[in-house]
Amino acid sequence: MTEANRQQKTIAGYVIVIIALTLVTIIAFFAGRYLDLVNTVMLYLLVVFIIALRCGRIPAIVTATLSVGLFDFFFIPPKFSFAVDDIKYLFTFAVMLFVGFITAQQAASIRTQKNLAIDKEKTTRGLYQLAKELTACKEIDDITNTLRKYSNSIGFDASIHLIDQHQNFPTFSELFVIQSLALTVVKQNKYLDISSYTNSRTSEYLFPLNSSNRLIGIIYFIEKCQNPSLQILAEELNAVADLVSITLERFHFEMIASESKLEINSERLRNSILSSLSHDLRTPLSALVGMADSLTRQIDSKDSKLISEAESIRDQAKSMVGVINNLLDMAKLHSDHVKLNKEWHLFEDVIGSSINFLKGSLNKHKVKVILEPNLPLVEFDAVLMERVLCNLIENAAKYSPINSEIQIRGYMLNGKACIEVNDQGKGFEVGKIDRLFKMFIRGKAELSVQGIGLGLAICKAVIDAHGGEISASSLEEGGASIFISLPAGNPPNPIMDRY
C-alpha cells in the first residue's frame, strides 16, 4: 500500500463521516415529531459504529465527538444553541461519548486484525506461489528472475550472490566491509540491515542462504519504496530466503547426482575396456599354452629337443600372460578408486600361496620362509597381496644366480607387520634405489629395466592403497632386499577350542 493511496483513503473516510452525520441530522430533525430524543441518540451511535467498522478508530472518535455536538445543537432545548437547559442531558452526552469511544476502539481493533489477516493471507499465498515457481526452476538465472518478480511485488529489488570456496562473494560488492558483512550474515545465519554501511537512504538487507551442512550465499534486498513494518517483513523475507536456499540445495544435489552418474559411466566404460582387452589378449595366449603343453605330451619322449622347445613355447607364452596381467593390474590400480577387499589374513597363507603359484619358475632356487612365531592376523586384500609377493619373489628369482637362496621373512616391528624378500643376486645399483619406485609414480615406466619395471610399480600402488610402506635396499652381504610394512590394526580374536 503506498503513501498516496493511504492519504486518499483517509480523506475519503472523513468525507463519509461528514455526509453520514449531515444525513442523520437532517432525517432526525425533520422526523423530530415522530422520533423521541432517545431514538436520535441511537441513530448517532449507529453512525459511529458504522464509521468505526469502515474507516477506523480516528474517524470514529471524530464522529462520536461531532455527534454529541450536533445532537446538543439541533435537538436539545434550547435548540440551535450549545446551551443546555436540563442538566440531565450532560449525562446523556457523557454516555454517548463514552459508548462512541469504546465502539470506535473495538471496531478499529477488529478492523486492524482483519487487515492483518488479509495481509498475512496475501503473503502466504505469495510465498506459496513463489515456492511453486521455484520448483519449476532449472537454472540459477530462473531463480533470480522469479525472486526479482516476487520482491518487486512487495516493493523490493533482490539479487542472489553465491559464496565461493575462498569464502568470497565474487558477484557482490567489491567493498571489503560489505564482503565481510555478507560472510558474517551467512555464518551467523541471521539477516542484517546494511543501509548504515552503504550510506544509502533506502533500506538494504542481507539475508543468509544456508543449508543444513553448507553455506550457500546471500540474498541482497534493496527497498524501492517505504515499507511499514520490518518485523513482519523480516519474517517474510526470511521465508523467501529459505525457499531460495532449498531450491539451490536441490540444484546442488542434482549436480552431485549427475556427476556421480557420469563417473559411474566412465568407470563402467573403463572396466569394460579392460575386461575385453584382457580377454582378447589372454585368450590366444591361453590357447598357445594349452597347445604347446599338449604338444609336449604327444611328442615321442625320446625326442628331447622337440619336447624342450615345446616346453619353452609354453613357458614363454605363460610369462607373456604374466606381463599382460601386470599391465592390466597397473591399469586397474591407476584408476581413481582401488577397491580393496580387506580381510584379516595370516602372512603365512599368502606367502605359501604365492610360492605355490610360482612353483614352476622357482625350481632353480631354494626358497626359505622365516616367520616370527605367532604372527597376528593382518588386514589386507589377499588377492592383491599375493600379486605383490609373486612379483617380488619372481624378481628375486630372475635377478639371482641359480641355486641361490631366496629368503622371505615376516615379523612385527614397531607395531607394524613387515615382510622382507631378500635374494643373493647383485643387489640394486647405488643411486638407482630411489628411482625404483619414483620412476613409476610419474608414469615413465621404462620397460627396458627388465621385469623390475612394472612389477615394483604395482607393488608400490598396492601397498600405498593399504596405507603401508615399501622400500628397497641392497644387503650388506650382497643381494637385493625389498621391505614391506603394513599397519597392524586391531586383529579380531577368535575363540579357540583347546581339545
Binding site: A287, N341, E343, W344, E348, M385, I408, P494, D497, R498
Partner: protein, 228 residues
C-alpha cells in the same frame, strides 16, 4: 582305458576347445563341444552328461546362469574355466554349484587332475573305516586319530573336522563360505579369520614346512584345496 563317460564342453574359443577336447579324448572321455550357453542347455538336457566343463565368459548367456539352471535338476560335477582376475566370479560360480575351477592359462596335466578330482564320486570314495594316508600322515577315520610316522598327533575337535572335510574333498576347491558353514555351522560366514587360523594350526601340525605347504593349499581369495 575304459570309457570315462560323457563331457559337455562349453567354450567359445575354438583353439582352447580343441586342446581340451583332445586331452579329454586321450583319457577316454566322450566329448560334446559347444560354443554357446543356449546350445549347452539343450545338450545338457539331451545328453545327460557325467561332467560339464564351462567357460564363464560366454557370448550369449553368462556361464553362471547355465550353472544355476543345470544345478536345479542335476548333481553332476561342474568344472569352470575362468580368467585369473575374476576371483569374485569364481566364488559366485562355486556358490551356485560349480565343483571346481581352473584358471587360464592352464596346462593339460592341471586340467586332467581337476577333472579327476571333481569326477571322483562325491564323498563316497572313503569308507568310514578307511585309513587315509598322505605324505607322512595317516588319518584313521574310524577312531578319528591322526598319526605322523606312527606317532599320534593331537588335533582339536575343530581341527579334526576341518581335516576330515578337506580329505573328503581331496583335490577339490572348498570355498571359504562352505568351509565355514560345514565346520563352524551356519551364521559363521563373517568369521573367515577363524578358518585361516585353524588351517594354520593344521599346517603346523601336519606339514613338513608350514610356510610352504604341500597338502593344505590356500587359493587366495577363494578358499582351500587339499592335495594328497
Amino acid at each position: 582305458m575304459k570309457n570315462q563317460g560323457t563331457v559337455i564342453l562349453v567354450e567359445d574359443e575354438p583353439q582352447i576347445r580343441r586342446v581340451i577336447k583332445e586331452a579329454l579324448e586321450a583319457e577316454s572321455w566322450k566329448v560334446f563341444e559347444t560354443d554357446s550357453a543356449q546350445r549347452a542347455l539343450i545338450e545338457l538336457n539331451t545328453r545327460k552328461p557325467n561332467l560339464l566343463i564351462i567357460d564363464l565368459g560366454l557370448p550369449d548367456i553368462d556361464g553362471i546362469e547355465v550353472i544355476t539352471q543345470f544345478r536345479e535338476w542335476s548333481m553332476m560335477p561342474i568344472l569352470v574355466i575362468s580368467a585369473r582376475h575374476e576371483e569374485h566370479q569364481k566364488i559366485m560360480a562355486l556358490d551356485k554349484g560349480a565343483d571346481d575351477y581352473i584358471t587360464k592359462p592352464f596346462g593339460i596335466g592341471e586340467l586332467l587332475a581337476r577333472v579327476r578330482a571333481v569326477t571322483r564320486r562325491k564323498n563316497g570314495n572313503l569308507a568310514p573305516s578307511a585309513k587315509y594316508v598322505f605324505g607322512e600322515i595317516e588319518v584313521d577315520l574310524t577312531n578319528q586319530t591322526v598319526m605322523r610316522n606312527n606317532e599320534t598327533l593331537h588335533l582339536t575337535a575343530i581341527e579334526y573336522r576341518l581335516l576330515a572335510l578337506l580329505i573328503a574333498n581331496e583335490g577339490k576347491i572348498i570355498s571359504q563360505k562352505r568351509l565355514l558353514q560345514e565346520v563352524w555351522g551356519p551364521n559363521s560366514s563373517d568369521k573367515s579369520h577363524y578358518s585361516r587360523i585353524y588351517i594354520s594350526h593344521l599346517r603346523h601340525k601336519l606339514e613338513k614346512d608350514p610356510t610352504q605347504p604341500e597338502h593344505l593349499l590356500t587359493e587366495v581369495g577363494v578358499g582351500y584345496r587339499f592335495q594328497p
